[in-house]
Amino acid sequence: MKKSKRPLLAIPYVVWMAIFVVAPIIMVVIYAFSTAGGGFTLENFTRMGTYTVIFTRSFRLALIATVVCLLIGYPLSYMMAKEGPRFQRVGMMLIMLPMWVNFLLRTYSWMSILEKNGLLNQFFSAIGLFDLINAVFGTNIQYFHMIGTQGAVVLGMVYNYLPFMILPIYSVIVKLDNSLLEAARDLGASSTAVFRKVIFPLSLPGILSGVTMVFVPSVSTFAISRLLGGGTQMLLGDLIEQQFLGGAYNPHLGSAIALVMMIIVVVCMWIMNHFGEGEEQAVML
């Protein structure tokens, strides 16, 4: 009896998914394979080769941002999970606080930090860093070129998406059964071995969802690359946007690019999850 009622609970979400996820994806697919006149075509995909540079750049920058997030996020999550509840509350607060501010405003403020006359360059200039460098190396630099570089774009991604890495990892580690760790120690494992053989494998699900939640928005972002990349580091998001809002309105090509991007992302995720499962199983065996 109980069992038969359960599917009903899923109805709101299923309806939501159908309208806002499945239907748009179907539309993207239809657009991608059709011409303005409505006929079937593969031409939109044959043009994809031209954009290889942009595809590579997007995936490379997103990958770097994800790795950096993981390197910063994992130790922090681990440390936070091991501290007392008071520390956890404060830490959580500090992580969530910036997210109360609109994403774009946060990115916009990074602009004024990284600009030529931005806060950072002013600070370096005030502490005499440039004079020091010029004196030592005989150069003549007045400022660091930061805005409009790929580094700035990666910084923007890391800054904006880091919480999405920390939260899932933290919530997995904090729930780890302490008796498992005790058992491992009991059986003679060193603390490195406990981490390597028990904690890390068990936190993999958190890592995987963290990686997904950082990588996917990073790959498709267009606001960060426009503001911090100065519009010179065109990413996939910019490329797609250009098809809709640029001079030539071409939703068909835009959809084709979006579809290819989606497929690559899904394949990446699938491989990663597969790899993750394998690890977990291997450890469990």
Binding site: Y51, T221, G231, E241, Q242, N250, P251, S255, A258
Partner: protein, 377 residues
């Protein structure tokens, strides 16, 4: 044409864009529709008019005044750019009555039969529009449009950061200013700059000329001339001296000048773009009468004076143009700097060397788009 607000929305959409990767819903109602609460003439008849314009492109008091006067509720929305507006109209989700596109977009919409002919009997204030702004190339018989604002595109530069006054578009390609120049992030304007410099028409459809213009920009990109491609980020960058030279609209220059007195504006000697934004009614508009009433109200001298004072874009209304210096003096108690007024409302001899954008054929638009993406590779 402040697009920051629209960009804010766009980026919040970016989060939703993760998987679908496609978004067309770029309208924000950032100005909202101020409901005139408590005023005597609360619209009981349920008459409404849906207006779509650019961000920061109206004195919002005018909306209240119009609602109070006519009892028609105004749903005021904004779009990011002509292209975003077009995308909205094409995707079919939008139900606007009045839109305020620029010249070249108007001719495209007329070409595609998307605009309704206006009944000028309902718009008596049209007679106050200066003859210079009637029967322009985008609407040669003036059947569809009532001009809203006009202005020029030019070079904004920081006098403290360049050696001598700039008079030519060559500054936009000059390696002397490498890293301090901002390119406008819009293919039509950017390639237009190069076309003016090369002495070609900005409306050329000759692929060789367009490619030559592209090469000029592309070489400048390789030489590191441009710090970036920007739209409304230009405000922050120019006001704080993060860049020395940029190309933008006269009205926006005046806004920047308030925050940085070192900035200067010039319409280069080779000529530039003279744009007109005009109000028009969509063919499938639900509220055509209300739309014409709105257009008539916005074309009045009072509305044009208030608007000109608020957005710093020149009005096409003859009386408003003549009365503005006096209006300014009365409002602020000090005389208007006529030099600034000439930047806002360029004199005829400047307009004579400027050219309006016409709609380009589809093949040329596609070429522009492809070249623009090539620049970002």
């Amino acid at each position: 044409m402040k697009r920051i607000a629209a960009l804010a929305l766009a980026s919040s959409l970016a989060t939703g864009l993760l998987l679908t990767g496609c978004s067309v819903e770029h309208v924000s109602s950032e100005t909202g529709a101020p409901v005139s609460s408590g005023s005597g003439t609360e619209p009981g008849s349920g008459r409404v008019v849906n207006v779509c314009s650019w961000g920061e492109y109206i004195d919002t008091d005018l909306i209240d005044q119009f609602e109070e006067k006519t009892g028609i509720k105004v749903n005021y929305q904004t779009a990011e750019s002509n292209e975003a507006l077009y995308s909205l109209l094409k995707s079919g989700g939008a139900t606007f009555d009045v839109i305020v596109p620029s010249d070249y977009m108007i001719s495209q919409l007329i070409e595609e039969n998307m605009l309704a002919e206006l009944n000028y009997d309902n718009i008596p204030n049209f007679s106050k529009i200066d003859d210079r702004f009637k029967n322009l190339s985008y609407d040669p018989e003036n059947k569809y449009t009532v001009p809203y604002t006009w202005g020029t595109l030019g070079i904004i530069y920081n006098t403290a950061m360049v050696e001598e006054p700039i008079t030519s578009w060559s500054a936009m390609f000059d390696e002397q200013y490498a890293g301090d120049v901002l390119l406008i992030n819009n293919s039509r304007d950017a390639l237009g700059i190069a076309l003016y410099y090369l002495g070609y028409s900005v409306n050329t459809t000759d692929e060789a000329q367009i490619r030559e213009a592209f090469q000029l920009i592309s070489d400048a990109v390789s030489a590191g001339v441009y710090q970036g491609k920007v739209m409304d980020e230009v405000f922050q960058k120019m006001e704080q001296g993060n860049a020395a030279i940029s190309t933008y609209y006269a009205g926006d220059y005046l806004t920047m000048l308030e925050n940085n007195p070192d900035l200067a504006y010039v319409v280069p000697e080779e000529g530039s773009n003279w744009f007109v934004d005009a109000m028009c009614v969509l063919k499938d508009a639900q509220n055509k009468d209300e739309a014409e009433e709105w257009i008539n109200f916005m074309a009045s001298t009072e509305a044009n004076l208030a608007n000109m004072d608020y957005i710093w874009y020149a009005s096409p209304n003859t009386e408003a143009l003549e009365q503005y210096p006096a209006y300014y003096e009365e409002t602020y108690g000090e005389p208007l700097d006529l030099e600034l007024y000439e930047i806002m409302a360029a004199p005829q001899e400047v307009l004579d060397r400027c050219e309006s954008y016409l709609v380009l054929p589809e093949a040329t638009r596609a070429l522009y788009n492809d070249l623009w993406i090539e620049l970002g590779l």
